[in-house]
Amino acid sequence: MRPLDEKETTQVFEKLFKFTGPNLKHLLERPAVEGPDPEPGRYCLRLHRNRVYYASEALVRRATAVARPCLAAVGTPIGKFTHHGSFHLTVHALDLLAAHARRRVWLKPDTERSFLFGNSVPKSSLARITENTKAGDGVVVMSMADVPLGFGIAARSAQDCRKADTNAVVVLHQADAGEYLRKEEELM
């Protein structure tokens, strides 16, 4: 487990920035909750076996005692580096993103299943969308009960969505909660 180097950090932050915007600072500078110390410090990112983990400093300190082959996870994984070095966010970051993302999209109740199976969101499934969404923004997909279902990239801006065709793709799927069932091996 090691801290990320410059290049890797930029890649991660870029991806996160799409969702959080200026809130990104807040993500890393909020006081941590985890850890048995009275002041667990802040959060940090660590790299372990090509996966990036988001954990409080207290946790990270204690995890150094665990041998590298035996360590499986620390805190929350947010994404992984692929074989050729690009970074992708995974579904485990959902809770974090849902808490800090600026743009959200709400789906109609009957259409949740489709998204949870890994499909992109067509206009017909769209119930609500945050007003100032631009194309290329990261959006968190929620159900009408405000349950985060996944996240993706907005294919159109909010205005364009209104004008769009019913079958036009509005949100490009990146990750959804159904992957916990579909891709059980994903964290190994």
Binding site: P36, L59, P148
Partner: protein, 720 residues
């Protein structure tokens, strides 16, 4: 049809049919048809043939003459119809005879009448039998009314007599003494495929005999024979292997044994645990019920549990599940975490964490504060564990893949507040989930499991810090009902480490075994809890909560000596951190005590290196001490003999001091023990001395000591 309405009555008195059939003056057409059929089926005699043509003749005549008593006919036809239900097969024969109308009616009537009780039919068929013989005799309706009524009475009487006889024969056959099948019968059975109802009946019969053995036994048949027959029957009926049946028979009385076996045949109830990090039970139920779930709170004992009676979709496929709002978990899996009671900001270790239900529950209880080390030995189960942890939004975990025994080396001894050990076991409590266990477990499996469990439990105890402010607890649980894996393991730990059992905090469930066959366990084992499917409607489970008393590991493995030594060492280790000068006295006392123990037993090798290490840690000067009563000189004499040789600094003065200190310290330690852990504690061992007088003295000793310590403390503070 009015008739059809009345047919729903369960049983018309035999009077009516008897009367009706007797009065052949105006029997309804159907009735006439039915009687011959009954005769054909029941009698299978020649009579029916002779009577049929007669009846047919009568039928014709009847059709021509409308009867006076129409009402009677109606009721009679009802009775006839009911009687006819016993001859349901005879419906086809209706077609052979006369009217089409009546055919249809009789067919319909038969179907309706089929729902009536068979016994009534039996009676009526008997009546029909008897009547059949008479039916030929009476010819006219308008004839002798008196004769008719006499005939009716006779028939009724006969019917009642027959019924009574039948009842008697039935009762007699039931109260027959149960006899064990003979060897020949068994051989016969062995050749045929197993007759399940027969087996079941025999099992319940044997259980009945065994539960009231003196009265219901056969003469000169030993109990063992009954038990053996029961065993073989259970093995073939329920499908268990020999070993499991033997152990179950030994553990449960006969009646309860059957309850246990029956419970294991049922389907386990499906339970969910609300993830309090993301939702509340109320909200979750409100979200799931519209999806077609039939839910209920699991019971008073849990605020987060839900039991699912049935559902239109699988509980693992809902949006809420994927969002991590709940976890599918057995009801029994709630219990060890409830017993553990993790607090916020604690350090917890879950030594066998997969698939993660308990780990996530701990995380939810701690509200993501503190830290959980979730360890899983089996790599293949790691991804399930990780998936569950992250799905449920538990962020304070470090997941690792170690052998549980190595954890103290990795994380450090005495480093965490609580440990949960849900030990790998044979799983005999979960037979209803995995019926394969019935045949696959053997004594070797249990022994191997017990061996691993003991090692893991010792490692778990070593991980815990006895001096933790909020914790110092180990919870050991298994999903097995076998005693070698449960009570025996806890007993072993009590002997090997300075721990004691504390109440689990679960107010239901049976206390664990204190003695079982030839085993005698520590008396505090009644604080452990056992759960059974037939009692609690959850997996067979065992939960024990241990509190670690001190961080030092006892040298001897004798339970009594270890406990006394433990008390001493408990005191010593506590003061270790204070680094008080008092400590060395304690230290000196400790090896003495141990030496004495060793001497008394004359068996163990004293590990002098241990003691030496302890002693050299502390500073060497001896402080002033208030005068203390010197009790039990005999003991002192014993003590001082040995230690003199081993003590590094032997001084006349110091020896004396040591003596006093030893005794004082001993007294203090015991009084400390009693004070800290209550009058009944000290690991449940009895004091050898009489209590009252010495207890008073000890209390005084303790008071003196406390005052002195307080003085010292204030002195130190002033200095600083």
């Amino acid at each position: 049809m009015a008739k059809k309405g009345t047919k729903s009555k369960p049983q018309l008195p035999p009077l009516a049919p008897a009367g009706k059939k007797g009065s052949k003056a105006a029997p309804p057409p159907k009735a006439a048809k039915r009687v011959p059929k009954k005769q054909m089926l029941l009698e299978s005699s020649d009579d029916s043939d002779t009577e049929q043509p007669q009846q047919l003749q009568e039928e014709d005549s009847d059709i021509d003459v409308p009867s006076d008593s129409d009402a009677e006919e109606l009721s009679g036809s009802d009775a006839e119809a009911e009687g006819g239900s016993s001859s349901g097969e005879e419906v086809e024969e209706d077609e052979d005879e006369g009217d089409d109308e009546s055919d249809d009616d009789s067919l319909a009537d038969d179907f309706l009448a089929d729902s009536d009780e068979g016994s009534g039919n039996l009676l009526r068929s008997l009546v029909g039998f008897t009547e059949g013989g008479d039916s030929g005799l009476d010819s006219d309706d308008s004839d002798d009314l008196e004769a008719k009524s006499r005939a009716i009475d006779e028939r009724q009487q006969k019917a009642e007599d027959d019924a009574e006889e039948e009842l008697k024969t039935n009762i007699r056959s039931e109260s027959d003494e149960f006899k064990l099948p003979t060897a020949e019968e068994l051989e016969e059975e062995a050749h045929l495929p197993p007759n399940l109802p027969n087996l079941k009946r025999r099992i319940s019969e044997i259980v009945r005999v065994l539960s009231n053995f003196n009265k219901l036994r056969q003469k000169d048949v030993p109990r063992k024979d009954y038990v053996n027959q029961l065993k073989t029957d259970i093995m073939s009926y329920y499908g268990y292997n020999d070993f499991l049946i033997e152990t179950l028979i030994e553990m449960f009385p006969a009646v309860e044994l059957v309850e246990v076996l029956e419970a294991f045949e049922k389907r386990p109830p499906e339970c969910l645990r609300t993830n309090t990090l993301k939702t509340r039970r109320r909200d979750l139920a409100a979200a799931l019920i519209p999806r077609g779930f039939n839910l209920d709170p699991i019971g008073k004992w849990s605020k987060v549990g839900l039991v699912v009676y049935d559902s239109t979709i699988s509980a693992g496929a809902t949006t809420e599940y994927m969002a991590g709002h709940y976890m599918k978990q057995g009801a029994s899996s709630f219990l060890p975490v409830m017993a553990l009671a993790p607090q916020e900001k604690e350090r917890i270790v879950d030594m066998a964490a997969a698939p993660g239900g308990k780990t996530t529950y701990i995380g939810a209880l701690m509200k993501n504060t503190g830290i959980i080390y979730a360890n899983e030995f089996n790599e293949k189960r790691l991804h399930g564990l990780l998936g569950n942890i992250h799905r449920m939004g538990v962020t304070n975990t470090i997941v690792c893949n170690y052998d549980g025994k190595e954890l103290p080396k990795v994380l450090g001894m005495n480093s965490v507040d609580r440990v949960l050990l849900d030990a790998p076991c044979t799983g005999t409590g979960t037979i209803w989930k995995d019926p394969q266990i019935k045949t696959s477990k053997d004594i070797e499996d249990i022994r191997n499991c017990a061996f691993v469990q003991k090692q893991l439990l010792l490692a778990a105890i070593d991980l815990v810090d006895a001096n933790s402010k909020t914790g110092g607890y180990v919870v050991y649980s298994t999903c097995s009902i076998m005693i070698p894996e449960n009570e025996a393991v806890i007993d072993y730990a009590l002997k090997k480490r300075n721990v004691k059992l504390v109440p689990c905090g679960l107010d239901f469930g049976r206390p664990g075994f204190i003695r079982y066959r030839e085993h005698r366990f520590h008396t505090s084992l009644d604080k452990t809890r056992r759960f059974y499917p037939h009692v609690n409607n959850m997996d067979g489970f065992f939960v024990a909560k241990l509190k670690k008393l001190s961080n030092t590991i006892p040298v001897t493995s004798e339970s009594t000596k270890a406990s006394e030594g433990a008390a001493e060492m408990a005191d010593s280790s506590e003061d270790d951190e204070d680094k008080k000068t008092v400590n060395d006295e304690r230290e000196k006392g400790v090896p003495d005590k141990e030496e004495k123990a060793v001497q008394m037993k004359n068996r163990k090798e004293t590990k002098k290196t241990n003691k030496g290490a302890n002693i050299t840690k502390e500073s060497k000067h001896v402080p002033d001490r208030p005068a203390k009563h010197i009790k039990n000189h005999k003991k002192d004499a014993l003590e001082t003999d040995g230690p003199e040789s081993t003590e590094p600094y032997v001084d006349g003065k110091e020896v004396h001091r040591e003596e006093t200190k030893q005794t004082g310290q001993k007294k203090k330690s015991t009084s400390d023990r009693t004070k800290k852990f209550g009058p009944k504690s000290t690991l449940g061992l009895k004091e050898k001395k009489p209590v009252s007088d010495t207890k008073r003295k000890r209390k005084w000793q303790f008071k003196l000591r406390r005052d002195w310590e307080a003085e010292k403390k204030s002195d130190k503070r002033r200095k600083v």
